[in-house]
């Protein structure tokens, strides 16, 4: 995984549109599902940063009035976070 791609992904999560954020989540999803050892190590090395950005996204989503929360996106987002927190090695390095 390239550092530049990951940075772009974080930027989309921080400041992107919903479509941009969704692209970033899909990208992270691919990395999680990947069997590539390099990707796994990259994810672990950057776990703290990624969790911090995901926390910001969640806070922003839940601080909106319910009518403005994109539910499908929220569910997809939570599903991804759930996958991440089931990875023991990911949480151990945070």
């Amino acid at each position: 995984m390239e550092e530049g791609l990951f940075e772009k992904c974080l930027e989309l999560l921080r400041r992107g549109s919903i479509a941009g954020k969704l692209d970033a989540l899909l990208f992270i999803q691919d990395v999680i599902s990947s069997e590539n050892q390099g990707n796994k190590e990259f994810l672990e090395t950057n776990a703290g940063t990624l969790l911090s950005v995901l926390q910001t996204v969640l806070s922003n989503l839940l601080s909106k009035p319910s009518s403005k929360v994109p539910i499908k996106f929220l569910l997809y987002f939570l599903d991804l976070v759930h996958k991440l927190v089931t990875i023991k090695s990911f949480l151990k390095v945070c």
Binding site: L58, L62, S66, V69, I71, L74, L75, L78, D79, V81, H82, V85, T86, I87, K88, L91, K92, C94
Partner: protein, 147 residues
Amino acid sequence: MLVQTDQSRFESKDNVSIIKIMNSIILRLLENSDPNRSIIALFALASKYRKSQEDDRVLGLVLKCILKLANALRTLVSAVKPDKILLELHLFLLDYEDDQIHVQPNIPIKAVKIILQQLVNLFGQRILQFYAQSVQAHPSEDKYLKK
């Protein structure tokens, strides 16, 4: 987060899915994270919400997480650092006035007792060494833990 989602904000089907997945995330976090950091974070939250009295449900949820973690400590024993946890409990109790400690029912104090009991079960007499390294070395005197 659980409280924010637990307010029927969304359509009931979505609401159920969101609460379910949030619960599962919290459980995985408690299971897979460093237990010392989790306990420190949870007691910091308990301290904050005990004082604010804005929403008892938040405090209730935090305490449920503490109890869940206390029950899991046996399986996480190799990662448990009793000195750090004892110091956190000491700092938590420092926030209490003498008369508040004995108010009943006192769920935060019960949570402290349960964590302490688990630590004693896990570490036996050695707990006193950890106590000396952390709580006794702290500038503020301990009035409750050693009792």
